[in-house]
Symmetry: C2
Subunit: 344 residues, 2 copies
């Protein structure tokens, strides 16, 4: 494992879409190969300026067809603005930033040029507070992109498909609130599409990874619990899928994230049976990557390594792209063999 | 609207399945016609006896293939046993009772004989803490039953099908955690099966009704927000579907439940467009039924009227079966015309 010359992309590399907004995060990028290029779909988080004595939040207004900003006075009764990411008022949660997704292209997987326009921007009621954490799976000749859609009615996960990364066709919300961290397997298993997902439950305080299957990528069912946090371990508080799984001779190799009690997000691996991904063959005892570099330990949310995608380069290396501290796009070079040998 | 001779079924009418358990609730029954009979699938809640100084909870143990009881000392650090329905320990939630589903049969829709055995009992990992709130839809010659499956990993909703109410074939978890209050429409719309559901979101403290569609009853997608609570009204705190919708010339007639800020559960109606059930034609300004009788105002959870099913009798009347105070099966006789005239 060798970190690249990180960060690969920083907020200062990107101009905000909306005037008066500040880009505060470029992170959690989905990754794919298209021809000779490496493409990233980067989550770009923008923050509206707060007026004095206020906390601002932005939301997409479907009627107006644009993003509008609201200022909440800090002395509003019941307002809770302690977490820099969210504002809570009477149990309703608002985000202090709004994310869209932008395309970045590279020949070498290291040096990226970033588009000026959004690839995917909020444009529906269920994307009111932004679109986040895209993951890309190449399957049957096209690319399927999954992202979290944040809204006052909850967090759904939306599927879209593209062939060229210029136009994206939305396939609707495949997973209902609250759900995040969906990634589609790159081929059907037993005649069905398969996905990881990470539903939320009031019954358990420790979010876990589930599997689901689909005949058509639009409708999902046969929801099954796959794996949960391991109490007291590096992934003892919450886990979720990371990159879409990679098919190997030994099984499906999944790079997932886990957080401990203190909120430190690390990456680890799971190996799942090829014919039955509900069967776990191996799981990392220790993280394969933990926050150590400056752009992982300090940023919008300190101590976070979080992946949405990895690609194999022509030289056989595997680059895992990951969000550092909810602020930067970073990368680490490894190989499928290295990850497998650490697991088995 | 005329209440029947309530309660129709009480806990004292039913013997517990498990020795040493006490039946504390017979309520939230799904309803259907089969030949000349009215059938109810009644939720039966049983409670294990607590040892002195302890609170007991029961769970299905998939390895042992039976329900086991655990006693938690009341002085366990971090234990919260204030709510009689649940015990919380370190964020994990346990239920003080465990529910199964039992069949009750009647010729007149009023006087029921109740089976000694379970129709549907917990038998999988995701049914660990019980199966609850069945709803029955007759569609394409068979009956589809949906119920909530409660487990430490969350609340899924499971579909099963039957033709005779003797054997039930599970079709898997169609909706992932946390979800409840799923009811299937009695026919396809636009070539797809359609269902109400009620996902949970940490973003909004007010649970709402959603719609989803399916090609096969197993896989669900195209999740869409339908309607939320109306702040300050009788349904201002949470809403969810009740009985499966009834097709009328004016639209789909849905009897739903709503709770106010104080936790009083009432029933109301919605009328949805036949070709597009996402379009609300009308919604009850006032409840059609509110807790007023003794077996609605006093019981395991006071001030609750909650429905999972209604059937039309041969005389054209519509009997809405509803749970009174999370303890009793009650019924109220009305008609489709009466409900429509109250709405339009």
């Amino acid at each position: 494992m060798k970190r690249l010359d990180n960060p690969l992309i920083s907020p200062s590399d990107v101009r905000p879409l909306a005037p008066g907004f500040e880009v505060i995060g470029t992170f959690n990028a989905g990754a794919a190969r298209l021809g000779q290029e490496v493409l990233l779909l980067v989550r770009v988080a923008e923050r509206p300026a707060s007026e004095p004595g206020c906390v601002a939040y932005a939301a997409y207004d479907p009627k107006a067809g644009r993003i509008t900003t609201r200022q909440l006075p800090l002395d509003t009764p019941g307002l809770d603005a302690r977490d820099p990411r969210v504002v809570c008022l009477h149990g309703q949660v608002y985000l202090t930033s709004i994310s869209h997704v932008r395309l970045a292209r590279s020949r070498d997987g290291i040096s990226f040029s970033i588009g000026e326009a959004a690839a995917i921007a909020p444009e529906t009621t269920t994307e009111e507070y932004g679109v986040e954490d895209p993951r890309i799976t190449r399957i049957e000749g096209r690319y399927v992109v999954n992202y979290s859609a944040i809204a006052s009615v909850g967090i759904t996960t939306v599927l879209a498909q593209t062939r060229d990364f210029r136009s994206f066709e939305r396939l609707g919300a495949g997973f209902c609130p609250d759900n995040k961290d969906v990634a589609i397997f790159p081929e059907k298993i037993g005649g069905r599409y398969v996905a990881f997902h990470r539903p939320s439950s009031g019954f358990s305080p420790r979010p876990a990874m589930w599997l689901a299957s689909s005949p058509d990528l639009i409708h999902w069912g046969d929801h099954r619990f796959l794996a949960g946090p391991r109490r007291g371990e590096w992934d003892g508080s919450r886990i979720g899928c990371g990159a879409p799984p990679i098919k190997t001779e030994k099984g499906w190799l999944e790079i997932y994230h886990g957080a401990d009690k203190g909120g430190t997000y690390c990456l680890g691996c799971m190996l799942l049976a090829l014919e039955d991904p509900g069967r776990i063959i191996a799981r990392s005892k220790e993280p394969i990557l933990r926050p150590e570099a400056a752009c992982e330990k300090a940023g919008f949310v300190p101590n976070v390594c979080f992946t949405c995608g990895a690609v194999e380069l022509d030289d056989g290396s595997l680059v895992i792209y990951y969000g550092g501290a909810d602020e930067f796009v970073c990368g680490v070079a490894t190989s499928v063999e290295e990850l497998l040998s650490g697991l088995l």
